[in-house]
Symmetry: C2
Subunit: 192 residues, 2 copies
DNA sequence: GTCTATACTTAGATAGAC
DNA sequence: GTCTATCTAAGTATAGAC
């Protein structure tokens, strides 16, 4: 039987385009990559690609969105906090994707920009998820701090994002260490 | 007497252009702002502006560079760690400048891009400065942690940067809290 | 609904005159 | 040092074939 149910017609093609874009961005960086190039890899013309997306920015955001969905599945399986934060970056280990992520994050404040819809929601969800896991860790006595879980979630997310910025400038930097370090600061045994 | 000494001819005009760019970016965001617009504010044509800069990206980076020099002077006056981290962001409190900063940081890994020269150096300097101040605080007993000062510097910088990413998506977020929170985690009295 | 061809518009870059 | 004119690349919009 042909694909029906949850998949509308054309969804498979759209996914194919996003996949092609993802690959090109990962290989050559997303800057200096025109949509015509993405189209060529799919054997399409530019308007052929634009049939599936409202604008270039829309396509870029959907690349991230797709990436996120894959991550989310993995995150759902995990319960640990360290693993969650690591997973947040694992899908972003290629420079091209990190560049795309950071660059679009810069547009999250522009009204009408697709990123302005994506990022606030994404951050909300991530903070909520992290807050739960921090709270769990505190309940279990793994963490101890007078700072409420919500604020620690903001803090942890900031570390995970911020280290990526530094990593773009210095790829020899290990991205796991800072995350591990904050978590260590939260361990009761490490207090003065 | 006319300006001589350390200032070459044309430096004043270059500064004027950077100032105009800074203002426009602060007012309207740097995206969607063409160089022709910047040129117009200076009473110049596009080539008139390009005479002073190798490319648009070059101009953008120099806007950040200029901003940084102003910050550095303030930073030199401070000795406290919290104040240093706060100052790092105060010059970046307008969304347009934060967007510019984040967006260019995304290009720091591209060889040949002006940002690839600016950001690694900037981060190096900031980490060195923060390392010194963290070490001082530890020596004075204000902080206590088995984690070495260098790594804490990376961590603190990540928090300061990362919170800006979240801020772009949610401007109601207070950027000082997370920085204050990490510093609090480092205080010996807060251990479990 | 899917896709091509074509044309439009903007923006950064460059050449050469003054 | 600055302009006019021009070039090129890229995103966008339209018309229409299938």
């Amino acid at each position: 039987m042909t694909k029906r149910g949850p998949y509308r017609k054309g969804e498979t093609k759209r996914a194919e385009i996003l996949q092609a874009a993802l690959e090109i961005f990962a290989e050559e960086g997303y800057r200096g990559t025109s949509l015509r190039k993405v189209a060529a890899r799919c054997g399409l013309s530019l308007p052929g690609v634009m049939h599936y997306f409202e604008s270039k920015e829309d396509l870029l955001v959907q690349v991230l969105r797709r990436r996120d969905e894959v991550e989310k599945e993995r995150l759902a399986e995990l319960t640990g906090l360290g693993g969650s934060l690591d997973t947040l970056r694992e899908g972003m280990r290629t420079p091209g994707l990190v560049e795309l992520f950071v660059s679009l994050a810069a547009s999250a404040g522009e009204h009408g920009h697709p990123a302005a819809e994506f990022f606030p929601r994404r951050y909300e969800e991530l903070r909520a998820m992290l807050t739960r896991r921090v709270q769990e860790a505190m309940d279990e006595g793994q963490f101890a701090s007078p700072i409420p879980a919500e604020r620690l979630a903001v803090l942890l997310l900031a570390v995970a994002d911020g280290i990526q910025l530094q990593w773009l400038s210095d790829r020899s930097l290990d991205m796991r260490t800072p995350v591990a370090d904050v978590l260590r600061l939260l361990k009761p045994s490490d207090g003065g």
